[in-house]
Symmetry: C2
């Protein structure tokens, strides 16, 4: 609708959650980037390590990118930072704890010197190009999270970030309601609001609720207690430490990232961890079981995490023993359900009692539920609403909620990643969709693997492979030796021998019968034979050496 | 503990849910089999169609198997029937609707003549070897479900089957409380109880609750309404038909299994489907949208189901259009979360409003929650408890619940599949574990694929494959031609060319350098080169033709 005029807001990424990992604000050839996160691959993205947003739109406008703001320190908001700083030499603004987490991460990757990090505090304002950005405090499942008031030449935009309205947060610092009212008094053009939990009715429970659950749990547990959570959950660490102190247990951390984050949290003053309660893991393992509280990673059932290895008996420092209580203090990320419940079952198998979200209140969500979202809308009173941070179904649900609160449907932009939302003269329009999607990271390769390679991997995994080599006389086309045939992932060894010797005949026959296009025709004959025999379709690779 | 003496109860299957698909009752060389179900493969069981219990223990005692009882008509209780009747020529006892569903299934497989089916009714008794079996009615999410009172020489065993205590079921036939009390008056040795929902507190909602949700939904919908559910949910069909009649909509069924089951349900009297409301799908599509109610399969997001194809625009009979309301009247089976939410998002993308369990009460569970389980325990008053039908974590949770109700921990057997639970002289012991696990079915192959083949498929899918063929002089070992190299699922075509030409040099060099064990050493050199270059580890297949 408006070429190079007005304000553009672009959620950047592929299918999946919208604007979760990165959002661009663009005005008059000036671009502000909010967040630089990664996604974990879905179950069918075979072999992929992680996924980052496609930054091509920004790379084509490299000189226009003026700065980056990170709202909080979770992986889905900071996990792509190394790929960003390798491309853009611009200031990155974060709060202290978020910066601490970034520095721990970048130091491990030997990249910390590349990042132009600037510390801001909730309440501060900065200027990036034509944007004046006010940081305001929000509660989330990690301390020092912020939302943004972005003053643009087209009007004030409020960006909620990941948030909840916890009235009794662990750090006693509620979300900044005053600032939200201040914004609405000034008049808000548009609100970008976290829709992650829009399908949950009511009000998300306070983190404080966990204190009671931990208290009950430690009061009842006779043996060691092992609590798994995310390495970045500094406030959860504090709650565990407090509960440990109350119940006379020593607290140890297991897992590099958790140990490093705890150290950083102490250093920056976000974690109060007295020497009288903190012990090393080795020391903890020498204490009586009733005195031990261990916090570790692995609440998503990741096979290589501490909890994952404990569940399979492959953690070298200790084993689960009868009488242990294991707590998964976390919500299962969609897609991880099978690995989490498998981990829980295996821990039971090893004799532990296992406590998890479904059976006790050992986790609360970090995102606002329906009533909080309504309050946000009523406090901010935006003219336009852009639901973000959820899948399409969550965005639609927030749209329903907002319509109930009184925002007209035509003032709500439910869009997918890549759509340009344009504002000019207090009007909103949906512009073009920028090309690009998510970028797969696999080993050293960033973006060299696309859907076609994934599709090939999926084909390989469906029924395995059969590899056939034939050496033929280049003049007569006659096979000179018996073909070499091997299979992998197709059939078990015992069943294979008879089938393969019959297949050998099929190959020899088809080599003899045909002269042109031999490889293709042999492949076809083999596929047809194997399908008749097994009803399976392995990938068949034929190579002919003509000598 | 007791060789060939006493009663043995054996849940048969692999890891996963315990006794869900099949349980054997054995006394003095007489075996009664309860249920013959299948499991859907987990996400990491690549290429597998479905899974059945390992019947080896029964096959080794073929003459001892005296009869099979099926508790209800869901796939996880009847899905392996074709494999059972191919092996055992014994009577199969089911209620009428379950028999109808079995016959629809076996007729499609041309196997119906092989099955020795016998109809029983709740209230009936039959004798199978030393067992006297009384069938009693239970509510579940499918009509005509039964539990079993199995009178054995060691005492009375109550087998709950899948059940809930719906007080206002759609067919007005509550679970048979009287019979449960009758059992407890006679004295119950052991109870096998459905623990599927043991981690859910409270009382499972009545199926009747859906009537209100459907009423609201049809009252509000302006366009077509499309309701997806399982093909076997005859009572859900009835609720949809009733709601359609009330709101003046014609009802059509889409999908072969749904159409066939509806027809069978009408024929047997389980579905009241007046001609005035029932239309064919073609006719429905010619009616005004506000008059149309379509029921179809695909509530688990299966890509080839009707709803799966509607979500990707690949259903040939019609497309989703703006104004359609799509309802997923189902619970997402663990492991299907990603495909279900993907389907929902794609339906939104196509312009439908989508209603699902999280946003409206369009589904209720078919399994008893905590308070119902307590009631079951208090009604039946068993001496011993064997939690079944859940994962290990659900069994442990039911054990917790039962201990609260007063059953001593040592009288509760939380075991995995394959463990023999033995009863003799009113004592319970855990005996040996029978070998075997689940059997994978892939195409025509039943059990020819084990974990090692699955592991190979997983390896293939992780980083793809590289195939190398070298023709060498059999005397000098020198390569005679350039090696042929191809890859699949490893790297995209654009990136591949340079890497592969460099790889060619690596292969030629390593062929020249070595004389013994060439294939293995070339493979090693290739793996090392590719890992240095990409940090990936594709499977490398080397074949050398010596001429």
């Amino acid at each position: 609708m408006m070429k190079n005029k007005g304000l553009k807001i672009i959620p950047i990424g592929g299918s999946g959650e919208i604007g979760k990992n990165m959002i661009a604000y663009e005005y008059n050839e000036n671009i502000l980037v909010v967040d630089a996160g990664m996604m974990f691959p879905e179950n069918d993205m075979l072999g992929i390590d992680y996924i980052i947003p496609d930054m091509n739109y920004l790379l084509e406008r490299r000189q226009q990118v003026k700065g980056i703001v990170i709202t909080h320190g979770h992986e889905d908001h900071i996990g792509a930072i190394r790929h960003v700083i390798e491309e853009f030499n611009v200031p990155i603004y974060t709060t202290r704890l978020t910066r601490g987490l970034l520095e721990v991460k970048l130091t491990r990757q030997n990249l910390v010197d590349l990042a132009d990090l600037h510390t801001v505090m909730a309440g501060d304002s900065i200027t990036v190009g034509p944007f004046n950005i006010e940081f305001f405090h929000v509660c989330h499942s990690i301390p020092d999270s912020v939302g943004l008031g972005i003053d643009t030449p087209e009007g004030l935009v409020v960006h909620s970030g990941d948030f909840k309205f916890d009235q009794t947060p662990v750090d006693n610092w509620p979300s900044d309601f005053n600032k939200l009212v201040d914004f609405s008094n000034r008049g808000v053009l548009a609100l970008l609001a976290d829709s992650t939990n829009s399908i949950t009715s009511g009000w998300t429970a306070s983190e404080r609720k966990l204190d009671k659950a931990l208290d009950d749990l430690l009061g009842n547990a006779k043996g060691r207690v092992i609590i798994a959570s995310f390495a970045s959950l500094i406030s959860r660490m504090q709650q565990v430490v407090n509960a440990g102190m109350k119940h006379g247990r020593k607290v140890a951390f297991a897992g590099t990232s958790m140990v490093e984050n705890a150290k950083m949290g102490v250093k920056l003053g976000y974690l109060n961890l007295p020497d009288s309660v903190h012990v090393s893991l080795e020391n903890a393992l020498n204490l009586p079981p009733s005195k031990v509280l261990i916090m570790c990673t692995g609440s998503q059932g990741e096979p290589t995490s501490i909890l994952g290895r404990l569940s399979t008996g492959r953690y070298k420092l200790f084993d689960i023993q009868e009488g242990d209580t294991v707590v998964l203090s976390s919500h299962t990320i969609p897609g991880n359900e099978e690995s989490v419940s498998g981990t829980i079952n295996r821990l039971f198998q090893r004799g532990a009692d296992v406590i998890y979200e479904d059976v006790a209140p050992v986790h609360v969500s970090g995102h606002a539920s329906e009533e909080e979202l309504k309050l946000l809308l009523n406090l901010v009173k935006p003219k336009f609403l852009i639901p973000i941070h959820g899948e399409l179904r969550h965005l639609h649900q927030l749209s329903h909620i907002a319509q109930n609160v009184g925002i007209p449907k035509e003032n709500i932009a439910v869009v997918e990643n890549g759509h340009i939302i344009e504002f000019h003269n207090e009007k909103m329009g949906i512009g073009d969709r920028i090309p690009g999607s998510y970028i797969f990271v696999d080993g050293l390769g960033v973006g060299d693997i696309g859907p076609s390679v994934i599709r090939e991997r999926e084909q390989l995994s469906r029924a395995g492979i059969v590899i056939i080599n034939v050496v033929v006389d280049k003049h007569s086309g006659e096979p000179l030796y018996n073909p070499s045939i091997s299979s992998y992932g197709f059939i078990s060894q015992e069943e294979s021998d008879i089938l393969m010797s019959r297949l050998e005949k099929v190959v020899i026959d088809s080599v003899r019968k045909i002269n042109d296009d031999q490889e293709k025709k042999i492949r076809k004959a083999v596929i047809s034979f194997l399908h008749d025999e097994t009803h399976r379709r392995p990938m068949v690779f034929v190579s002919i050496s003509k000598i």
